[in-house]
Symmetry: C2
């Protein structure tokens, strides 16, 4: 599969933005990329997100096959963790590119005057 038309390229960009865009998906993925996270852990790192929103976003990322919801059972506790899926891990490099460009952008747009 390859980019055949400009129009198709645009649609691919839209696909990706649907995954990492919005107010919370980028941050959620970044944190889970870092290491597996529990629901309440994410909730407290993200700060102002509500349970309802976090729950919805996690289910959506799972549906997109970016993350896995893994139930963890020991003798004394049952919990669950969210982890990057096999495929999801591949977005880490892209996020790194985003961060690198973002830092350049800050230099240019903010750096000169600040």
């Amino acid at each position: 599969m390859e980019v055949k038309t400009k129009q198709q390229g645009i649609k691919v960009v839209a696909d990706v933005l649907d995954i990492i865009g919005g107010k919370w998906r980028g941050p959620i993925l970044s944190y889970i990329c870092d290491k597996p996270r529990r629901f309440n852990e994410l909730k407290s790192i993200l700060g102002r997100i509500t349970s309802a929103t976090l729950s919805k976003e996690l289910r959506y990322l799972e549906e997109l096959r970016m993350i896995d919801r893994v139930e963890i059972r020991t003798e004394t506790s049952s919990a669950c963790e969210y982890r990057m899926s096999q495929h999801g891990k591949s977005i880490k490099t892209l996020i790194q590119h985003v961060v690198e460009w973002g830092l350049q952008h800050r230099k240019v747009v903010l750096g000169e005057g600040v």
Copy 2:
């Protein structure tokens, strides 16, 4: 400047998503990246965008120093073009990374079943 904390990295990601995210900014940048474009040209390629929205998005991208609004005067006409700024051009590589990852993603998430 470098990424010092996870928190800072997240903010950089949010900065970048503010530029290429949303319904229209990614597509608008992609088209202008390709070559300089006129207002009505963009409007017709983008399809369902309204003048008000296009105008607002272009002004915002200009404010972010991603694009330049260039007035073009010849003897017979006066028009204007939107072009990538010097800095804006640097996002082309990032958009290419996005497209590349997006194509992989399609293979994994859609490709197996479609």
